[in-house]
Amino acid sequence: MSIRARFNIQQEDFRLDVDLDLPGSGVTSLFGPSGCGKTSLLRAMAGLDHHHGGFLQVEEQTWQDAETFLPPHRRPLAYVFQEPSLFEHLDVRRNIAYGTKRIPAAEQKVSMQQAIELLDVGRLLDRKPASLSGGERQRVAIARALAVSPRLLLMDEPLAAVDVSRKQEILPYIESLHRELEIPVIHVSHLPEEVAQFADFVVLIGDGGVLASGDVNEVFTRLDLPPAHDSDASSLVEARVCGHDMDYHLTQLAFPGGELLVALKSLPEGRKVRLRVAARDVSLTLQRQSGTSILNILETTVDEIRAENHAKVLVRLMAGPTPLLASITRKSAHELQLEPGKTVFAQVKSVALLS
């Protein structure tokens, strides 16, 4: 099961030429700077704009080719717009029911009740959209999208219109979506944090085309691509909870490249988590240090080194099969005589738990 998309989008201020083969499950992020055409691509996939010569096939079903163009209302998808576009003349309940009413009962895989519970909007049902906060509105919009039981969920920066403090109010809901419903999600974002948090697969868009696509950590740690050179560049680690140290209130997390400790989290053993390690929080030593306050030390191999500027270099390390980024000074790199293949110890100052 997969999604094949070919589009050549020409507009006044940009052009975008893509040929994509996307996974038919999990979350795929279309990631790139503002104005690169990500939203236009998503709209083209939804059929909201018709770009001639495009091609789109979802689960063996052709939505667009030379002869076919399914209008949006015939495509089994749902779309969450950047600004929560609720129908102002309908209350929350009827907003959510709008799509549900229009699909045959046999296609109802997500019940309205399920969508309402998942986004926790039960107590808002009788309210009019005008009386809701930005975060509440977007949660209702997502519930409404889910309630049509889409076979593909398209989301255009669903958090962009929500203020920072409200983001945490929505994030957990979006995260739980694909875990609980198994609906493939294509998500557009220009924020690395957002991609790091949700995406399994990322398509990096820039310069009018696709710069790279693949597993999100693989793409984010490639030194020849822009994300690694962001000031917040970081690596993502898929780990599993393997135990708790109740004496020191720490949780142990294991991943193929080693083990990491974080402050105690009430997570069950075996639970999969995603960790984010900022490149600037990783320092390197040639020997395993003792007598340091840093708990997380991983044995790694230098994979690639690239100068960031006159003072800094970016080092891509491999902790087993897991790539890690370290941002260090050029002077240190020189003194440590770093070169590909060399074994070094990565001291990780802090680890953020994303899920």
Binding site: L48, P71, S85, E88, H89, V148
Partner: protein, 230 residues
């Protein structure tokens, strides 16, 4: 006699006026809604031409409009001739002819508020409805129309009120046939001509109060809309 100051003939004129306004408003909404929808949505670069045509009655002397309609609808006109050859009667000097005239004359008062309302609804709610499986017709009736409700209210009341006050077009194509095409505005004119000021007063007062009440309603219920634009 309902009121000692309003004669039976005047009452008949008022009834015809109301009947004309009601019928015209209905026809205006039926024709004006799709026209306004198209004007609000089309990307056509020459859409200013139909817009100008719709706005024409705002600036044209009603007698000019009436004159052309008379030529068109009369027994020798294109439409009137066609009606006659089909076994009907020419539209000039009939109630149906008055409706045709009023509809054209009041068109901008219905199309413009509707067009503004559809424009302010924007594309987004319709796109959302499309991604929620609503077909174009479905989303027009379940999203565009309810969201444009203030525009429909304005259009209905203005279309109605404007037809109430029509004079020139009616005089040209309707003649002044009592009980059939004689409307209140013409009856007032006749009263003044005949120096029956008291009767003119009463009839005028009825129209004044009615029109004022209707306009108060439009302006009071939705302040967002300009009434007409040129």
């Amino acid at each position: 006699m309902v009121c000692p100051m309003i004669s039976e003939a005047d009452l008949a004129a008022l009834v015809i006026t109301l009947k004309l306004a009601l019928t015209s408003t209905l026809v205006l909404l039926l024709l004006g809604t799709p026209l306004a929808w198209w004007l609000a949505r089309t990307q056509w670069r020459f859409k200013f031409i139909p817009e100008a045509i719709v706005a024409l009655p705002l600036v044209l002397p009603p007698t000019v409009l009436g004159f052309y309609l008379l030529l068109l609808l009369g027994p020798h006109g294109a439409v009137g001739g066609l009606m006659q050859s089909l076994g009907g009667e020419p539209l000039a000097f009939t109630f149906a002819g008055l409706v045709v005239g009023s509809v054209i004359y009041s068109m901008p008062f219905v199309v413009q508020p509707l067009q503004d309302a559809f424009t302010s609804v924007g594309r987004r709610p319709l796109e959302v409805a499309a991604t929620l499986r609503a077909s174009p017709i479905d989303r027009f009736f379940t999203v565009a129309v309810p969201l444009a409700r203030p525009g429909f209210l304005t259009a209905t009341v203005l279309g109605f009120a404007h037809t109430l006050g029509e004079f020139g077009v009616v005089l040209m194509i309707g003649g002044n046939i009592p009980g059939e095409t004689r409307v209140a505005s013409i009856a007032i004119y006749d009263h003044v001509e005949g120096l029956n000021y008291i009767q003119a007063h009463w009839l005028s007062a009825v129209l004044l109060v009615l029109s004022f009440a209707l306009l108060v309603m439009v302006y009071g219920l939705n302040r967002r809309f300009r009434v007409v634009r040129l």
